[in-house]
Symmetry: C2
DNA sequence: TCCTAAAACATAGCAGTGCAATGCTATGTA
DNA sequence: TACATAGCATTGCACTGCTATGTTTTAGGA
């Protein structure tokens, strides 16, 4: 057999162009259809199939984009000497990211579409796990606290809050419940109550919500 | 002869027939389209418009159906002399209902569709509020505990858990995190730790998950 | 440099979608 | 009997994602 010659090379720019355009249309609440996605650009409808394999592939890429942005936001969070505060700050970053991109956030957890890179999505949770681990190592949490379990529980609170607020029935101020919920959780795994309240409240100040 | 005359008045049975059929199609993961919804029945596509005003109306009715079933499930929960346990049982009922009807659950919080009867949806939260109120009145919780706030926080935990499990990436066993999360929350508003653990663990035994 | 095979593309068209317009039928009222 | 009204079947339209077909472009070997 002759060697597989890669004849014409795909242009990565086209791929990101379409993803960014799709994200933009999502942001301004325009319905994303095959034809509306390529309208105005100089790419044809078939390009969507060569680059993404179909509209499902576009949504998959979009879902990945959601995790990419979340990871980028997590990466901006600097660690301090207070790991409980850091964990809280990570949660506020999670909430801020979800409210900045509510439509992307909704896609992120739409199990109808697979992820292109499952590991990258899982890696975002690792930020929370690390902060929980540091809290345990510095004796803020009980020694038998499972960092992954605590990270998941924190995540559950954040997801519950933000999904009821971003695309749900609760008003934005409800996000404030994150303070008592996280405080109760952290105290329950051993943190000193007064110190915990301080850490969470200080961390919570990092919450940045989009303008309304 | 009157025997072959067709009634021209709106038949409520047609409405429930279509809703039940839509719910059934949702359950077996069949796509719900205008034509597929009426296929097999003796109602025409236009009937969907006279009864629901369009496919959006069908989804609205379906969303309402989700709250109706949740309310029905809540109604089966009998109150005991332990309001904290009762509150936990209500949460397990919430989780059980969501996992019995994961597709309906997803529709319930899809803000793309309005609700026909917003009050009926709000009323379901009232079950939780009442249990929280009884916990406060029996001095399980601090006197200054706001029952609505605590109910909403419990709801947030339940929703976060179940939405990450039912249509999300977490395995079913993750639901078990409900025990430590609720316990931490109830203790944080004043309940006696040991007594709280007993109440939550006892209440959690009422969790009924669908067979897999 | 030229040739060839395969990748990428453009076009047209298909089956399927929700929905509106039209006109018919059955009922209620005068 | 005459008319008004409500429900609904039929038809057709604008749109969807997608595919079949033919053309263009490009990489790699001779």
């Amino acid at each position: 057999m002759y060697c597989d010659t890669m004849a014409r090379t795909k242009d990565p720019a086209v791929r990101t162009l379409l993803i960014e355009r799709a994200a933009h249309m999502l942001r301004i609440r325009e319905p994303i259809t095959l034809r509306s996605l390529v309208a105005g650009t100089d790419v044809s409808t078939m390009a969507v199939y060569t680059y993404f394999g179909g509209m499902d592939g576009v949504w998959k890429a979009l879902r990945q984009e959601g995790f990419t942005r979340l990871a980028a936001r997590f990466a901006t969070v600097t660690t301090s000497e207070d790991p409980v505060q850091d964990l809280t700050v990570l949660i506020t970053a999670y909430l801020g990211n979800a409210l900045d991109h509510p439509d992307l956030y909704r896609v992120m957890f739409d199990a109808n579409f697979d992820l292109e890179d499952l590991k990258a999505a899982d890696a975002t949770l690792e930020y929370l796990v690390q902060a929980a681990e540091r809290s345990r190592k510095t004796h803020r949490f009980h020694a038998d606290t499972d960092p992954l379990e605590l990270a998941t529980q924190s995540w559950t609170i954040a997801h519950g809050l933000v999904s009821l607020v971003a695309n749900g029935p609760l008003p934005h101020q409800t996000l404030g419940y994150g303070v008592p919920l996280l405080t109760a959780l952290f105290i329950s795994v051993g943190d000193n109550p007064d110190r915990c309240r301080l850490s969470v409240e200080n961390g919570w100040k990092q919450l940045r919500l989009p303008d309304e």
